[in-house]
């Protein structure tokens, strides 16, 4: 064997620059092969046709002004006049006009919280965000219901986007702690508790949310003692909380499993009790690990709120559908379509913002 000894060290060099022309790279992406090229052309063409049609319908031939269905003859263009004229029902429902500042305050507070959440320095603890999402709905609820110096407003008069916001936040605030409790219960040493928690989670996961909502709306009053007047809104909230708690429980269970056994052992050997070890060592790691998954649950909750309209709660979808049946706007099918498209855009904006945030959280780790 010949001997080798390096006498002069090799200095680090720059990585070679990709000198491929932009056109060549572009062709590689779009026309990698004849079949792919055809597919690219077909999809592009389909997209252009759809986008052009939508543009014609939504912008060019759209009707923007008017206070009744007379403003929107035919179905060549969208009836945005319907959305503009009925801004109040889809934003806040039947909330009293002289108390509207309370609704605006909720929207504004939420917007501020959201800006803070997104702008917050990456190193800051994510647990404060969770705390904010738990405290905020309680504050909203108290403000909107009123009492004391504020005139009371029954939840039956809330509606539209306001209701969707409150239900989403309230679901998040209740489902997360309950879900965490269920996940911990499934790890308990006590077999009865463990079994009950597992049974509840599995049952909820095997039943469609719509069925849970119907049970809460129609079946539950039969079991409650006579005269106990639990409003439809409250029952719907409970159904949402329990259903999503089961979803959150599974997420938390995964997070708890991700914290290694060694962490608990180390916590024991530095003298922490089981409870202190859970609170200081296990939970902070478990919760941080599942925050992206929790945001995904929140996206699901926001979309699920549309089911509320089925049991007669006046959420965003319900407000638009009811609007299309109101005296001034009845008749033209195009009006309801416009309403649905508008809803889709609202949900798209909210949920895609959340999902982008979730992806950013994942990338951060």
């Amino acid at each position: 064997m010949t001997r080798f000894v390096r006498r002069t060290p090799i200095e680090p060099r720059h990585a070679p620059v990709d000198a491929t022309a932009a056109l060549v790279r572009w062709r590689r992406i779009w026309f990698a092969s004849p079949a792919m090229g055809t597919l690219s052309l077909l999809l592009t063409a389909a997209f252009i046709v759809c986008a052009w049609r939508f543009f014609q319908w939504a912008i060019v031939h759209a009707h923007w002004r008017g206070s009744s269905s007379d403003a929107c003859p035919g179905d060549a263009g969208a009836c945005w006049a319907f959305i503009v004229a009925r801004w109040k029902p889809w934003l806040v429902g039947d909330y009293p006009s002289d108390q509207l500042w309370r609704a605006w305050a909720c929207f504004a507070t939420f917007a501020l919280l959201w800006i803070w959440v997104v702008r917050r320095p990456p190193a800051a603890s994510v647990q404060r965000v969770l705390l904010g999402f738990i405290l905020l709905p309680i504050a909203f609820f108290l403000l909107l219901v009123g009492g004391g110096p504020l005139p009371a407003v029954a939840p039956a008069r809330w509606g539209g986007l306001l209701l969707t916001l409150v239900v989403s936040l309230a679901t998040f605030a209740t489902a997360l702690p309950i879900g965490l409790g269920l996940a911990l219960g499934r790890r308990s040493r006590r077999p009865v508790l463990r079994g009950l928690c597992a049974a509840f989670v599995e049952a909820m996961r095997s039943v469609p949310l719509l069925a849970v909502l119907f049970i809460a709306a129609t079946l539950l009053p039969m079991f409650l003692p006579n005269g106990s007047n639990v409003g439809l809104f409250a029952r719907a909230l409970v159904a949402f909380a329990l259903f999503n708690a089961a979803m959150a429980a599974e997420v938390f269970r995964g997070g708890l499993q991700a914290v290694g056994r060694g962490q608990l052992e180390a916590a024991t050997t530095v003298g922490l009790s089981d409870f202190a070890a859970l609170r200081l060592i296990v939970l902070p790691q478990a919760v941080t690990a599942v925050v992206p998954a929790l945001v995904n649950i929140m996206i699901a909750v926001i979309k699920e709120t549309t089911l509320l309209s089925v049991i007669g709660v006046n959420d965003l979808l319900g407000a638009v559908e009811n609007g299309a049946k109101s005296p001034g706007w009845v008749g033209e099918p195009n009006i309801l379509t416009s309403g649905h498209v508008f809803l889709a855009l609202v949900y798209l904006a909210v949920c895609s913002a959340l999902s982008r945030y979730s992806r950013r959280l994942e990338a951060r780790r």
Partner: protein, 266 residues
């Protein structure tokens, strides 16, 4: 909360048992994992200030033995006395485990630092939330022990930012912060890169020179020879041979230890 009785939680941990009273005493300990007999009739006494080396092939029960001492693993037969706390196989409760762990320290093969905390927080969490020491006092302690393991400049880093050797030294400082009467080492250098083994061994050696009672599971035989008062060889869940290091390494009596040492030197 399952706190042990007040007498057990006093924050004067350096009250050592009198001379002659063993810090750790195992009497007829037996342990099974399912049907597998992992520890068989273990009798062992460790005197205050004694350094005991435990070695043996993998699966011989040496890790299990030290994990039984601080009740991370329950046992099914026998009696255990650790720092004055008496535990029978039938009475391994959370309270007993807590009482033992407030007197016993442990250093793991995988360090097991808390990744979401800084080095300083890692050192303070045990004294503050376990022993009820004031934050000020816990911080003083943490600084003192960090100084000793030579990591004062890493105080605000997270474990992931440290090398393996530094992490293990932090882990040693963390266990010292709880002011244990005995420290268990479960293969503390086994998952370290070779060039980091020495810094950890030196830290352990300086600890030994101050009279800390130590139970050490390790394959670092040179270190063991320098530091240990007694060496124990285990195989198949049994203690095969106990001897002073020189006899242990130079004049092993049992054939199995002879084979084991022969394989190490090969």
């Amino acid at each position: 909360m399952n706190r042990p009785d007040p007498g057990m939680t006093t924050t004067t941990p350096h009250v050592r048992p009198g001379p002659g009273v063993p810090v750790v005493e195992m009497r007829g300990i037996n342990k099974w994992y399912g049907a597998f007999h992992a520890l068989r009739d273990i009798d062992l006494q460790v005197a205050p200030g004694e350094r005991v080396l435990i070695c043996g092939p993998s699966g011989s029960g040496k890790s299990t033995l030290v994990r039984v001492v601080n009740l991370l693993e329950p046992f099914q037969q026998g009696r255990l006395q650790v720092c004055g706390v008496e535990i029978g196989a039938e009475a391994i409760t959370r309270a007993a485990r807590l009482a033992v762990n407030r007197r016993v320290g442990m250093v793991f093969q995988q360090f097991n630092l808390f990744p979401h905390m800084t080095v300083l927080q890692n050192l303070m969490v045990g004294p503050v939330w376990g022993a009820g020491v004031s934050r000020h006092e816990a911080r003083q302690r943490a600084l003192r022990y960090l100084e000793r393991v030579g990591l004062m400049d890493q105080i605000d880093k997270h474990p992931a930012q440290l090398s393996g050797g530094q992490q293990q030294r932090v882990a040693i400082a963390r266990t010292l912060c709880t002011q244990p009467q005995v420290v268990l080492f479960d293969e503390p250098t086994a998952s370290l890169d070779p060039e980091m083994v020495n810094e950890v061994l030196q830290t352990m050696e300086s600890l030994a020179s101050e009279g800390m009672t130590m139970l050490i599971v390790t394959h670092e035989m040179g270190f063991a020879r320098r530091v240990a008062d007694r060496a124990i060889f285990m195989d198949q869940g049994q203690i095969i041979e106990i001897a002073p290091p020189d006899d242990f390494f130079d004049r092993p009596q049992s054939p199995r230890l002879q084979t084991f040492l022969g394989q190490l030197h090969a």
